[in-house]
Symmetry: C2
Subunit: 309 residues, 2 copies
């Protein structure tokens, strides 16, 4: 029952995303539909819907544009990330950057951001303030990551700041907005927000691990592409500053990183860290009144830990 509603809601999100990015400016229209139709897990809309239902909401339609907006924030950042990372493949398809070039990728990302704003505007001040703060955090997190990549070093605290801002902030906002619009009290909103924040941390640690040890066929993109994520995983493990270059005999920083990761046991330690974040998420969820939607949120934790792409 809950699952049917969520699936219907997610279909409505896809429809909304497709319609909202329509433009008479050909390249924006084409590039936006390209990235939207490449799929993705739609985890943030799912989280928003389930938070809404768990908080007592009963009219999923009222949060469809909001759920589309959180997915679109994420999508916009992917388009800009792919410029900065020179990525060619994303979700098994060519990136906007690789297909349309840097200028149009930059403008497509900007366009998607403005469409987020357009979808959110009708929800009024409180929701928009939550969303605005999450987007500020997100860009700050991306910037901390780019600065770490540039400097070639990262420590545990910086890694935590990065994943908290670039990922957990939007997870938290999704849960808070969904529960607030359902009319939940402060306690429920806070507990679902805390749940989502920790779920986001677990998600990002697993994501970074998959980027190193995942199967490229399943992932739809190359693994080992991001030295910073590799460094982040090491930082979680050893708590010391980690340098990209470790041995002059191996000139490729990523190969050095892969080597060190295999030797050090850092993968297992990072995995344990993700599981600890998942436990914290569950402890917050336990304080939310029981419901079928809450059970689905609990299952989401397993999906985040067990995913292979």
């Amino acid at each position: 029952m809950v699952n049917d509603r969520i699936e219907n809601g997610l279909d409505a999100v896809e429809e909304k995303l497709r319609r909202v990015v329509d433009s008479d400016v050909e390249v924006l229209d084409e590039a936006s539909h390209h990235i939207i139709s490449s799929g993705g897990k739609r985890l943030r809309p799912r989280l928003l819907f389930l938070s809404y239902l768990a908080a007592g909401g009963d009219e999923l339609d009222e949060v469809v544009p909001m759920a589309a907006a959180v997915e679109l924030v994420h999508t916009a950042t992917l388009v800009h990330d792919d410029i900065n990372d020179h990525s060619v493949m994303r979700r098994g398809k060519i990136t906007v950057h690789a297909r349309w070039g840097r200028t149009f990728a930059l403008l497509t990302g900007d366009y998607l951001f403005t469409k987020v704003y357009e979808m959110m505007a009708p929800y009024g001040a409180r929701m928009n303030m939550i969303m605005a703060e999450a987007t500020v955090s997100l860009v700050e997190g991306e910037t901390l990551q780019a600065a770490a990549a540039k400097s070639g070093e990262i420590d545990r605290e910086t890694y935590k700041q990065i994943i908290s801002r670039k990922t957990a902030s939007l997870f938290r906002a999704s849960a808070e907005m969904g529960s607030l619009i359902a009319g939940a009290g402060d306690d429920v909103v806070a507990n679902l927000g805390e749940f989502a924040h920790n779920l986001g941390l677990a998600f990002q640690i697993v994501d970074d691990l998959l980027d190193i040890v995942g199967d490229p066929e399943v992932m739809g993109k190359p693994v080992g592409a991001d030295v910073t994520q590799g460094m982040g995983v090491v930082a979680v493990h050893n708590g010391r500053k980690t340098h990209a270059a470790v041995a002059e005999s191996e000139p490729d920083p990523m190969q050095q990183m892969m080597h060190r990761l295999r030797e050090s046991g850092a993968v297992e330690v990072a995995r344990a860290e993700a599981e600890e974040m998942a436990r914290r998420a569950r402890r917050a969820l336990d304080r939310v009144p029981p419901s079928a939607a809450r059970d689905e949120l609990d299952l989401l934790v397993d999906q985040v830990l067990e995913r292979e792409r």
Copy 2:
């Protein structure tokens, strides 16, 4: 009296801009303050304030964050434009792109966009919908311009679409938001919006002319840098499709364009077009009830036509 209030309001806008972009992420903090402190005409905040006063508003403080937001939208697009145009100088200072590199310039532009959103959120649904639509238009206009630059041709209709979306839309939004929040009736809002739209068109035609025939010392940036703007001015003149390359004997497209502009009389025709837009702006302004602020808006038209930078 009106002028003193406007100057005080603009000081408050500067203060607001400086405070809102503060970040513990060093590069965002530094790059944002760099671009904000490079000045600019603050034409959009001025237009918003005067529209607010002309529509009967009496508490300028209530529109300071909104006026800062319209200036920041403009600033964010400049930071991203400078990436796409490989610009090195802007307002007499080095660009964010040239000083911090492409990745951080991209993220700084994104950051400024999120700060716009943060400042606008408290104003509620109606204002945010106007602002969101203006930002969508703006990105569409930038994209049409980039597409014209890439294709190497532009016609009169496309040029008008570009300047209408990338410039006039935010001028119009500034006047509409300022007058709406002052409690003006539909007529006054529509007339001030119409005024601002035409003022924006005149402004952009003059801007494009200055980019070709302006004094680089006064402008604080090189002239003749933008082939598309040159083409646009020619397109306004001759109404035919204009190609960037005209003679194989002159391999530099900009030199070809400068040559053709001087020969063709296009500068004078574009100038006449700007003056026609200014007349339309004034006709709309005449339908607004007389006030000291309305007189200042009338003077703004002259400033736009007569400016040298």
